[in-house]
């Protein structure tokens, strides 16, 4: 909105301001979530830990699959559940980022995508803060860690970008159409089972052969494998799958920004 004599330095100032606002909002979220330090942390970890125990019981004890005989299945699960939890809350909250904060969105002239970026970043921080729990499980099972663990941060980047793109795409739609939220929640549940959270794609490959490639195009399957590569090198995909996931992610981001920009004016009227 601001136009000064020197557009380049002005754009830099705007960018700085935008990042400062994003920083402010994320800090606020973190502070609210982890209020009371350990209590807040425990509360946040409660759901993923409980769900991990449930999945471990159902799929590790009741219906044990042979592939996990030597893998500490609980460790495999917790990495997957935490990562999926991040994606799930990022999409859910990103989708409602604009509508649930309607009043504040309507009152401040900041770039509107910031509200989606904020939920993606806050949920990412929750995932990052949960890493010590994964480390604790690694130590508990004395599971070997290979140098491939350096891929972990790449998984974070990939997953953030994909979740951000989806959030940008969905948040204006969720304002304009009332039932988008419900539809997306159903799709997310389907996505949970199509993504290798509870199982490894290697097991799928032994039964479905080359069709497994389809599952490997999923960017979240990609981030999942990058998170796990340092623990189970067999979870690593061939490089071209990651290339395809990056392309899909970039296309999602581009589509997300395009839809968001196009609907921004309409959304502001509806808030």
């Amino acid at each position: 909105m601001t136009l000064a004599a020197d557009p380049a330095s002005d754009r830099a100032a705007t960018r700085r301001r935008t990042l400062a606002v994003l920083n402010l909002l994320v800090r606020r979220d973190i502070k609210l979530r982890y209020a009371g330090a350990w209590l807040g942390y425990g509360w946040t970890m409660l759901e993923p830990l409980l769900m991990t125990m449930v999945y471990a019981f159902v799929f590790g004890v009741l219906l044990p699959t042979r592939d996990f005989a030597e893998t500490p299945y609980v460790l495999y699960l917790i990495t997957g559940v935490l990562a999926w939890n991040w994606f799930n809350t990022a999409v859910n909250e990103g989708m409602t980022a604009v509508s649930s904060e309607a009043k504040i969105v309507r009152s401040a002239d900041v770039p509107r995508w910031i509200w989606v970026a904020r939920t993606c970043t806050s949920t990412m921080m929750i995932f990052i803060f949960a890493i010590p729990v994964i480390v604790a499980f690694i130590l508990w099972f004395r599971h070997p860690v290979s140098w491939l663990i350096i891929l972990f941060p790449l998984g974070i980047v990939l997953q953030f970008a994909f979740a951000f793109g989806i959030g940008l795409l969905l948040s204006p739609l969720a304002v304009l159409a009332g039932d988008v939220k419900r539809l997306v929640r159903v799709l997310l549940r389907v996505g949970f089972y199509l993504t290798p959270v509870l199982y490894s794609l290697n097991a799928v490959h032994s039964r479905f052969g080359d069709y497994t490639a389809l599952a490997k195009l999923n960017p979240i399957a990609g981030s999942m494998s990058l998170f796990r590569a340092g623990l189970w090198s067999s979870d690593l995909f061939a490089w071209y799958f990651y290339a395809a996931q990056v392309v899909i992610t970039l296309l999602t981001l581009a589509l997300g920004f395009w839809v968001f920009k196009r609907l921004e004016g309409t959304v502001l009227k509806e808030l």
Binding site: L24, K103, S107, A108, D109, D179, L183, L268, K269
Partner: protein, 247 residues
Amino acid sequence: MAPVIEANNLGIQFYRNRKRRISVREILFKGKSTSPKEQFWAVRNATFKVEQGEAVGLVGANGHGKSTLLKMIAGVLLPDEGSVKVRGGVAPLIEITGGFQGQLSARENVYLIAGLHGMSKKEIDAKFDEMIDFAELHKFIDTPFRHFSSGMKVRLAFSVVTALDEPIVLVDEVLAVGDSKFKQKCYNRLDEMMAGGDRTIFMVSHSERNLRRFCTRGLYVRHGEIVADGNIDETLDAYNAYMDTDA
């Protein structure tokens, strides 16, 4: 020097039904959306320039597009037609309590809202006491905002937004609230802000007294179009004359 606000053929359309909820279900099963499509122009063909230091009042009856115009200048509504250029930062006194969060304390809200409007933490630290002083809320710094009375909410919000050291001030009817003592304080604050002569103010009000007091120029908006632009007395006379014939 370039004008600080430059509106060029500005226009925005709204749907006649306030909530136009489309649904995916409908689109999937019927192939189209049955939501009403009738639109009207809330503001149209608005072209004007405001120079630095001017004090402009927007005059017009309810629902004729004054606030909509102001919101487009503030950048919280986007025009469907034309454009508006604003040179310099804006302190928007529009729905001022809107961004405040009920569950956060007064202190946290000050940092959040002032931060959203572009103040750095250091600047807020420096001005914090002054803001609380002005709002007279010393005893309630750590009280959740939702427990405030509506008067207290407006006091805090007015105090925060007017502390923004921005060259352009947009005012939408906020002067109508609060008790008479605080109202007087707000007037004084606005007077102070205008004292230097280099701030630009753009005001929507139904109070002729306030308009004559603060503004030198008046824009008369009728059915979304600017029908008069001149000094504030002339504009108010034109408005009154029209309202009389209408009644």
